[in-house]
């Protein structure tokens, strides 16, 4: 390197740091996410969903607004201007790229199209603890099928995904509702869908119902009426319904029954008088019939009137994948783990591109939240690497022979690596520790001449060190290390690991 370059580097030394709200991932966490993605992908594929990958960028005008919780088109996205003056945005979900893809290739695609996609999405939002500006989603959608078999299939597949990840029945539940029932309920309580205030009031009521899980019935009642002051003293304005209206909505969110049909019957009693309500009830009955025919009981797929699933663009069935075991929330309170994904039917997917309505239904699963759940449940088997063996280097001249030894270990199906640096024994042992190695192999000059190697069991060593409580004694401990004839090495290792 020239002197000129060296000088330039002295002028500015950047600080090494991840950008605000972004993160690195490695080790067990990364393995778990990748193994989860592989598992879910294979369930999706088994159901006939074909993989699609789209680029990170979409034209800003094509992104549209598919964020379920948001009504902002281009706020909250990362956007930049291309050198031809067109604005491009990083995708904020996998639904908007699907809409663009379907509209672009509609004539050539199989219809209905079952597609799945996973990958990072980006949100230009304020980061916080556990809230990143890039995260992974894995979605499956069926486009071009207006019937309930498509929705039922997605719900059964969602349950199968949870089962495939090792989550027991009882620890997860796909909770299903239908937007038309909501519309029927608003009609039943006498709201006028032509009034200027309808859209606002509707959102306020949906938001209130959505909080049933967290606030209970009294909280929902407050939010449906005059409003609610929370523990911090903040006041949320209510929907302004009268007492009779409030009781009807409260009756809906609090429906409890032993089986799906009983829930649907109770819903029907509340909304059956309206066309939307009757349609919603019929759709739920159709889904229930398919679930029952295929052996999916209410302990996996439940009908639940309190499921609102965001405020966005859903037009029919909505579903939420919930993990029902107890966990601590961000405030340290014990509560059910909660949603790891969900979705629903959104029949105006490509309307903004093509002007025609094309029915679509699908789910999105949040990978990192589900990974956190699996870690809590201890369901991380299969994603963990085999025990690692590190071969240390006493004398650099012996590297070729030691690399050959490592190759032999690998060919015997073991996970082995050579220490590849130039440091002394102490640093090599620290390396093996940091790598979480199970076994270490050392071959000194005397040992080589005697045809043996030293095999050190770091795990056993650690156990003994807990018992011995003396570092010097641990280092000297004979039990954690043994001399093994070179030709008995592989068998000995296999016995230790067995």
């Amino acid at each position: 390197m020239s002197n000129r370059k060296a000088k330039k580097q002295k002028i500015f030394k950047p600080k090494a740091r991840t950008p605000r709200g972004f993160r690195d991932m490695s080790g067990d966490e990364l393995s778990l996410q990748q193994s989860m993605i592989a598992t879910i992908s294979s369930v999706y594929e088994r159901y006939g969903f074909a993989a699609l990958d789209t680029s990170a960028f979409e034209y800003a005008d094509a992104l549209g607004k598919f964020l379920p919780d948001d009504d902002r088109p281009n706020e909250g996205v990362f956007a930049l201007e291309d050198d031809d003056g067109q604005w491009m945005s990083l995708r904020y979900d996998l639904t908007a790229p699907l809409a663009r893809y379907v509209a672009e290739h509609y004539d050539a695609l199989p219809k209905p199209l079952r597609r799945f996609q996973w990958g990072p999405v980006w949100r230009n939002e304020k980061p916080g603890p556990g809230r990143y500006r890039q995260f992974l989603q894995i979605d499956a959608d069926t486009v071009g099928a207006g019937n309930m078999a498509a929705d039922a299939e997605i719900c059964m597949m969602a349950a199968d995904c949870m089962a495939a990840l090792g989550i027991e029945t009882g620890d997860y539940l796909v909770r299903i509702n239908n937007r038309k029932i909501m519309d029927g309920l608003l009609h039943a309580i006498g709201l006028d869908s032509d009034s200027d205030d309808y859209e606002n009031q509707r959102l306020t009521i949906l938001r209130a119902m959505d909080k049933f899980d967290r606030l209970g019935l009294d909280g929902v009642r407050d939010l449906l009426g005059a409003g609610r002051k929370d523990d911090s003293g903040d006041f949320t304005k209510g929907a302004g319904l009268d007492d009779k209206q409030i009781e009807q909505v409260a009756a809906m969110v609090s429906i409890q029954a032993n089986n799906r049909l009983a829930v649907i019957d109770a819903m029907e009693a509340l909304v059956g008088g309206s066309q939307a309500g009757a349609d919603g009830v019929a759709e739920l009955r159709e889904m229930d019939a398919l679930f029952t025919a295929l052996g999916y009981q209410a302990d996996r797929l439940a009908i639940d009137a309190s499921i609102v699933r965001g405020l966005g663009y859903y037009t029919g069935p909505v579903y939420e994948i919930e993990l029902t075991f107890d966990a601590e929330d961000e405030n340290g309170d014990i509560t059910r783990f909660g949603s790891v994904g969900g979705g629903g039917r959104y029949d105006d997917l490509v309307k903004r591109f093509k002007g025609v309505e094309i029915p679509a239904t699908g789910i999105s699963i949040g990978v990192s939240r589900l990974a956190a759940a699996l870690t809590m449940l201890g369901k991380t088997q299969g994603s963990q690497a085999d025990p690692l063996i590190v071969v240390l280097v006493m004398d650099k001249e012996t590297r070729p022979a030691l690399m050959q030894l490592v190759q032999n270990l690998r060919q015997a199906g073991l996970r082995a690596e050579l220490y590849i640096g130039d440091s002394a024994m102490k640093a090599q042992l620290r390396y093996a520790d940091l790598r979480n190695a199970r076994l270490v192999i050392i071959e000194g000059e005397d040992e080589r001449q005697a045809g043996v190697v030293t095999l050190k069991d770091l795990e056993l060593g650690k156990q003994q060190s807990v018992e011995i409580e003396d570092n010097a004694e641990w280092r000297a401990s004979a039990h954690a290390q043994q001399q093994v004839p070179r030709d008995a090495l592989i068998d000995t290792i296999k016995q230790i690991l067995a």
Copy 2:
């Protein structure tokens, strides 16, 4: 949806299109890439490389310049300003994020660190045919090991990756050189490394040597001397060497020998007088000894004096993974397929962050170019899905029973799906065609009562249609379809697919 919204959508209807220079991927192409990534990852993992994932963004000041072919720091990247005024860029390769990661976490990392990473990288460059602005790389690097065992390991691993993908020995070759030999050569021909023009002349000479494969020895001679006019009439200024100098460089790039040691000996004769040259020769000898000890012959790992590997930051061994079979280049000429990846040693990886030199060596493989090669070679086994069975729907009332049938087929290990739309039989058959289904199952009312289904072999049907050359006759063809008792269905399908 309200009228207000419908009106708004009429105002602007965006065109559905991928942004300029970006693309979608699906089907066999996507499966192949994913299966390649899985294969290469597992080779990397077997060698002890640990997976790392970093976010798409890095702070622009931290990106540095690791593009081997480029000397531009922030040109050619996609950058945007965060709301706190800091500039962020999408990574243009996986080396720059590694440098930042190592500098950020240096104390806590195992040293040496073997890490691998795969993922998209972004280049803000002019797109062209086959030249996209987002593409996948899969890298492996060893950081903190200054010795040749680290480089030798990476080269052997690169060869193992090619073998694991099913590429035969003889169709690939890892070609290895050493930058110090280049420096020794420049010293040997009498260039003054302290002169103002040295850096420029050095780059011009390296660029000329890099073109040996394409232009042959005469072309390289022109570029080392006065310059060269290409077929289109464009003139490239040469390095301005005199005849004696040109012959020494030409002798270097054109070294041919039967084995690695003979190549190294010939190199030594040309550069051995300089310290850099002698160091480079010693390093190559050390790598050769490791290759030989581990049984990697010159038909997989070759020493090659014409390997330059970009112009960038390499400081020692450089290596290029080449596919040597014949293929058509962009001009339609038959030539060897060429490079699918490469790398080398770059000992100033984190220097710009930490001020200290930390040795590093690694490779980067370009996923899409390698996928194109595998497709040409027909090595796409293992990435292709099982034959697909599509169950058609004659009567919507029978959907629950047909879904149950599909579930039974899946449980028997078959890949089956239900047609999930609402269209008539003709559209359903078109769907099965577009999905590349192998078999179609139809169950009409009469068949259901007789306990049989119709099984249609679309592949056999297509074969017959080629022979029959009559569409009507094909549709009526009895051979391509048969009636099968419901309880013999799975066995019959397995026989057909066997």
